[in-house]
């Protein structure tokens, strides 16, 4: 039985889709079967970031409405053979997602894959709540700025009340992924510091992804950053986050920390 991860944030443009693709590709490179599901019906992007936009035939809405079989809609990645994509529909809207339909699709995917990564749309409406509904693990993507942090806090509240686990009296495992982190700007005080964000959200930190041109470059060539340039700083940060996700206890390094590069490593507990 696979694990269901929702990548969510509340706010748009913080890096949910980039992170979903990067984490999916990183997990799949270890030989585990991974499917990344685009829940952003109407505004799909994941197919572009994964470089599969020219191979989309059927989508999530087709499967939910019984117009296609799940196997017909799944797209296998050309670079990593255990990585799959379930694209969203661009022509429909989120009202086409039904709770029963989503439940069926997620149950089928859980049986066939080790990891089911649900890329949530922004907002707190139907699309976002259905994406998080069946999650075992939630990755809350946050930028180090106040509006993103507050929206993430709102989402954490929903994860504690609107998910199936929460309704059954269990807890969804929650992790914070701090993205677009710019050490220089944080030092100048233009951005919130890591500790400030952690203090406000009080959930364990999964990783810090530095702001980098490599991310933009990767999405422009249609590859998750963990496939496009495995030696780049954001890719390394995503690889580390993946290892933490699987339970490894790695110290977290704050990107751009000059002293952290040679010798002095900041030992910050992940949990």
């Amino acid at each position: 039985m696979g694990k269901v991860i929702v990548v969510t944030s509340g706010k748009g443009g913080v890096g949910k889709t980039t992170s979903s693709a990067a984490l999916g590709a990183a997990l799949a490179q270890n030989g585990e079967k991974v499917v990344v599901v685009d829940f952003d019906v109407g505004l799909r992007n994941l197919d572009l970031v994964m470089g599969a936009e020219r191979r989309v035939v059927y989508d999530l809405v087709n499967v939910i409405q019984g117009e296609a079989k799940l196997t017909q809609a799944l797209i296998r990645d050309k670079r990593v053979e255990t990585l799959y994509l379930l694209p969203a529909s661009q022509t429909r809207d989120k009202d086409n997602l039904t709770p029963e339909g989503v439940e069926k699709v997620i149950a089928a995917l859980k049986n066939a894959f080790d990891w089911v990564i649900c890329d949530s749309p922004a907002g707190i409406e139907r699309g976002a709540t259905l994406a998080m509904r069946h999650a075992d693990i939630a990755i809350v993507v946050t930028n180090p700025e106040v509006s993103s942090v507050r929206d993430s806090d709102r989402i954490i509240g929903l994860l504690d009340s609107k998910t199936l686990k929460a309704e059954n009296g269990e807890r969804v495992e929650k992790h914070l992924l701090l993205t677009r982190y710019d050490a220089v700007r944080a030092e100048r005080g233009d951005m919130l510091k890591v500790d400030d964000v952690l203090e406000i959200l009080s959930i364990p930190l999964l990783g810090i992804i530095p702001e980098s041109m490599d991310v933009l470059r990767a999405s422009n060539v249609g590859a998750p950053v963990t496939l496009a340039d495995t030696r780049s700083a954001p890719a390394l940060a995503y690889f580390e986050a993946t290892r933490r996700l699987k339970g490894e206890n790695l110290p977290i390094t704050i990107p751009g920390d000059k002293r952290g590069f040679f010798g002095k490593i900041f030992g910050r507990k992940a949990a």
């Binding site: 507050r150 806090d153 509240g157 929903l158 504690d160 406000i200 009080s202």
Partner: protein, 251 residues
């Protein structure tokens, strides 16, 4: 002469809850009215000075029938203050207003069962005596409290008009805590805290770290802008002195 507003004082907005008696009519209405009359006969003045809400949820009647029902009740000196569960189409400007979000409370004790009613009737035909309300034992005043042992996230609202609220954790920006009594936050208070909302001027707000967006006690409020900078980020308590919100650091 024109009035000059020398000191801009905010208007006080208070919440207050009353226990209303909810009547749930059944069809056919005529039969139900007969039973109501029977109840009223056993206890004259049962409906006197009691706010009555008519709960018509799921009742299949149209606007005219509802209007008739309200006037029938009014003929029996039952004044309906609001109607719950009615469709907009069932209501009109000449009808009691719609009410929503009613919270259930304990059932009202109907005055005397049929048997005792008969025996009472046998004893005395005096309706006044039959209507004497039994004295109810008043329990020793206990102040209920609510303990929330996880952070209150943005968008969440803790509403507890019955008494004190204690939060073990933070209250996030965009979250809200409303208490009839005092509010204790063992963590940073970044959202809104409203204490003493049921008219309790002696309620206080305590927090480990004051970064609130708004604080209010008994209807008097202060926004973050009006708060002293010296208290920002400090452990603090807030109370009401007359009509002035006062704050001081703790410990």
């Amino acid at each position: 002469m024109t009035d000059v507003l020398t000191q801009p004082r905010p208007i006080r907005l208070k919440g207050r809850s009353f226990l209303a008696l909810a009547l749930t009519p059944e069809l056919p209405v005529q039969d139900w009215l007969v039973r109501l009359d029977d109840l009223a006969a056993r206890s004259a003045g049962f409906f006197l000075r009691r706010p009555v809400v008519l709960d018509v949820d799921g009742l299949d009647i149209d606007r005219q029938e509802l209007r008739d029902l309200v006037s029938e009740l009014s003929n029996r000196n039952v004044r309906v203050m609001g109607i719950e569960g009615a469709r907009t189409s069932q209501l009109g400007p000449d009808m009691p207003p719609a009410m929503t979000d009613g919270r259930p409370a304990a059932d009202f004790e109907a005055p005397a069962t049929d048997d005792t009613a008969v025996s009472k009737k046998a004893k005395s035909a005096d309706p006044v005596e039959a209507g004497v309300v039994e004295p109810v034992a008043v329990p020793a005043t206990v102040t209920p409290s609510l303990v929330v042992s996880r952070p209150v996230r943005s968008g969440q609202s803790i509403f507890f008009p019955e008494g004190d609220v204690t939060i073990i954790g933070s209250v996030a920006s965009g979250a809200e805590v409303v208490a009839g009594g005092s509010i204790h936050v063992y963590g940073p208070l970044r959202g809104r805290a409203m204490a003493g909302t049921t008219g309790n001027a002696s309620a206080r707000i305590f927090c480990r770290k004051l970064e609130a967006e708004l604080i209010a006690i008994d209807g008097f409020y202060k926004t973050a802008d009006d708060m002293e900078d010296a208290l920002r980020g400090k452990p603090a308590q807030i109370w009401l002195e007359g009509e002035k919100i006062t704050a001081a650091t703790l410990g």
